[in-house]
């Protein structure tokens, strides 16, 4: 046995006479790589592209007032269903409203709903997942409730919840958040269960660290990466659910332009005036694509097992 020979060339030698450890093995030099945000984006083009596209959409939503828009709710019955032109870039709908202005302002609803749902459901799901992962008796109860909620498709659950209240952006956010919470809490619970078996968590327990501190210092920082990735997917899914809810009339009220209800209103005319449906659909697709690209990029960058780079 090799280790035996190395450890003790002559059989029972006193421990301190055995070859001593060299004073200090060298510490690995720091890896030379592009530093900072730019270096990170250079190495992760998916994140850069998705992020840029999403940033553009956010700018459009924030600065909608200055992007040559008119009042998106102003009716002009005399100028109904005009084709796209220099005056009406995306044409007008059957009530004579400017589709361009409606699409630009519609970005606000989609992005607010997407971000709000992503943040709220991540925060609530994180809390539920932490409780579930750390308190064993609560785990069974919480997870059976989550299983029950997950057995209903999120869209149907959101529609059911919207049927109980009146349509408003706030209620849409609440309905979609409730529908998305089980996915996050399951994810967090899984991460917590695997982290609490990690030797460094057990060492912290042995070192007398209190449970709240263990959660804060050792568990929480290591759940951020998977939650961030999950949040982007939830953001994309929330935008689509919002559009679906608005499309079937269960979402934002007609007075507030959103991509979903613009498409719903243009639906009756889509064979003769396809642009009313086309433009909001393109914006929705681009935004969801941007968020999904960002999510894929973050997943690859944050999860070492998915790393493709050397």
């Amino acid at each position: 046995m090799a280790s035996a020979t190395v450890l003790s060339p002559t059989a029972p030698a006193p421990p301190h006479e055995v070859v001593a450890a060299p004073p200090m093995p060298d510490i690995m030099p720091p890896v030379k790589a592009r530093r900072g945000v730019l270096g990170f984006l250079w190495r992760n083009p998916t994140i850069a592209f998705g992020g840029a596209l999403l940033g553009l959409m956010v700018c459009i939503a924030v600065f909608a007032d200055f992007l040559w828009t008119v009042d998106p709710t102003a009716l002009a019955p005399a100028r109904r269903t005009r084709e796209p032109s220099a005056e009406y870039w995306f044409g007008t709908d059957m009530l004579g409203r400017d589709v361009y202005s409606r699409v630009i302002y519609g970005a606000r609803v989609s992005l607010i709903v997407g971000f709000a749902v992503a943040i709220l459901s991540s925060a609530i799901g994180l809390a539920i997942g932490l409780v579930s992962g750390f308190i064993r008796w609560a785990d069974g109860i919480i997870m059976r409730i989550m299983d029950g909620m997950m057995s209903i498709p999120p869209i149907l659950l959101a529609i059911a919840l919207m049927a109980l209240t009146r349509g408003s952006v706030r209620n849409v956010i609440i309905a979609i958040t409730v529908a998305e919470i089980p996915r996050v809490s399951r994810l967090v619970r899984g991460v917590v269960l695997s982290l609490r078996e990690q030797p460094y968590v057990e060492a912290a327990m042995a070192a007398g660290t209190r449970t709240p501190v263990i959660i804060w210092r050792h568990i929480l920082p290591n759940t951020i990466a998977p939650i961030t990735v999950q949040a982007t997917y939830i953001c994309a899914s929330a935008m689509i659910i919002e559009a679906i809810l608005s499309f079937i009339g269960a979402g934002t009220p007609p007075i507030v332009p959103s991509w979903g209800n613009i498409m719903a209103e243009g639906r009756a005319l889509w064979q003769v005036k396809p642009y009313i449906v086309f433009f909001p659909a393109v914006f929705l697709s681009i935004t969801v694509l941007a968020v999904n690209l960002l999510g894929d990029g973050l997943r690859d960058a944050l999860d070492p097992r998915m790393a493709k780079r050397i």
Binding site: S3, A4, H16, A203
Partner: protein
């Protein structure tokens, strides 16, 4: 040095009839469908400054014993007594000050350090928890002296764990264990994941520290060469039970349990052409979910007879300080196949 129990001191740690059964949950409502008898009645003691090795093959429950002493979970039955005081039934708040006295070094140097904490914070955590430093300057001084103790440069405290090699990380793990100023360190396969030369360095470091600080070590391992090199006494575990405890020299020279005998014969001999009589055990280790009746080893024991299948042998003293759980020692001397010494030093070979 055998470190036998003397009347002068009581043992630092005593484990009495420790049991840990893990419930197997399954079925529609998650009811208990069975148990894994991971540790099923284990007793031993460790004196101050002594090294006890706990050896056995994978899955025999040796790591579970270590974690039970650290109270990383509730034990099923038995007592863990630290310096005359039971610690297994203490509440979390009462246990916390006692935790300082028993620390742990884990096997995997990569998962035993939080990747998001700098070395300084990793070492400071136990010092802060137990209030061992009164000021910031004293904390810094303690962290620096820990780095000295494990022969790492002081300025490495600002680095992240991923910047170190496996052996260096294991040194950090040892430093973290020392930070609490413990009396006992549980080394759970602490060198198994390291390559041979680094392994030797870490072993020597542990031995130096033991002499310097008077530490007791519970050395959980499956590497008999290292066990023979560095421990005072050895406890052999099989399927959740201790089958033999003896001072190192006696155990390696004259094993008193057929399992120990087989284990020793399986160690490769580092001498070309050397002959050694190997005892090949038949079959696999039985499942700890459904351990065999009678002696747990009877399904694989080359000497098993009827009594072994019916009656479980207790751990009894066969010679001074040498304990074994085997019915063969009740046979007349001439009929006991273990009477002749069949073991051999692993290192001397």
């Amino acid at each position: 040095m055998n470190a036998p129990m003397t009347a002068r001191t009581r043992p630092l740690l005593e484990v009495r009839d420790l049991k840990k059964h893990f419930a197997i949950r399954g079925g529609f409502l998650g009811g208990v469908t069975g148990h894994v008898y991971a540790v099923d009645g284990v007793s031993f003691h460790i004196d101050r400054g002594e090294t006890l090795a706990l050896v056995g093959e994978s899955g025999c429950g040796k790591s579970t014993v270590g974690k039970a002493i650290l109270k990383l979970f509730e034990i099923t039955a038995g007592e863990v007594v630290l310096d005359g005081r039971r610690i297994d039934n203490l509440s979390a708040g009462r246990l916390r000050p006692m935790r300082r006295r028993v620390q742990v070094v884990f096997q995997d140097p990569f998962s035993s350090l939080n990747p998001r904490m700098r070395v300084r914070d990793i070492l400071a955590e136990p010092i802060r928890n137990f209030g061992l430093a009164k000021s910031r300057a004293e904390l810094e001084e303690r962290v620096a002296s820990l780095m000295d103790k494990v022969r790492l440069p002081r300025d490495a405290v600002d680095r992240w764990p991923h910047e170190f090699s496996g052996g260096q990380r294991q040194r950090i793990g040892i430093a973290r264990a020392l930070a609490a100023e413990p009396e006992l360190i549980i080394c759970d396969e602490a060198v198994s994941a390291l390559d041979v030369s680094v392994k030797a360095q870490i072993i020597n470091l542990l031995q130096d520290l033991q002499q310097e600080l008077g530490l007791a070590l519970l050395f959980i391992s499956h590497d008999l060469a290292i066990v023979e090199h560095m421990t005072h006494r050895v406890a052999v575990m099989y399927l959740g039970k201790i089958v033999e405890v003896a001072p190192k020299r006696e155990l390696f020279a004259a094993p008193k349990h057929p399992y120990t005998e087989a284990l020793l014969s399986a160690v490769p001999v580092p001498m070309p052409g050397a002959q050694r009589e190997r005892i090949i055990l038949k079959g696999d280790v039985p499942s700890p979910i459904n351990p065999p009746k009678g002696c747990r080893f009877h399904t694989r024991c080359p000497y098993a007879f009827d009594r072994c299948r019916a009656e479980e042998p207790p751990l009894r003293q066969t010679e001074a300080g040498h304990w074994a759980a085997c019915h063969l020692h009740d046979l007349p001397a001439g009929e006991n196949p273990l009477a002749g010494a069949k073991g051999a030093s692993v290192l001397a070979a």
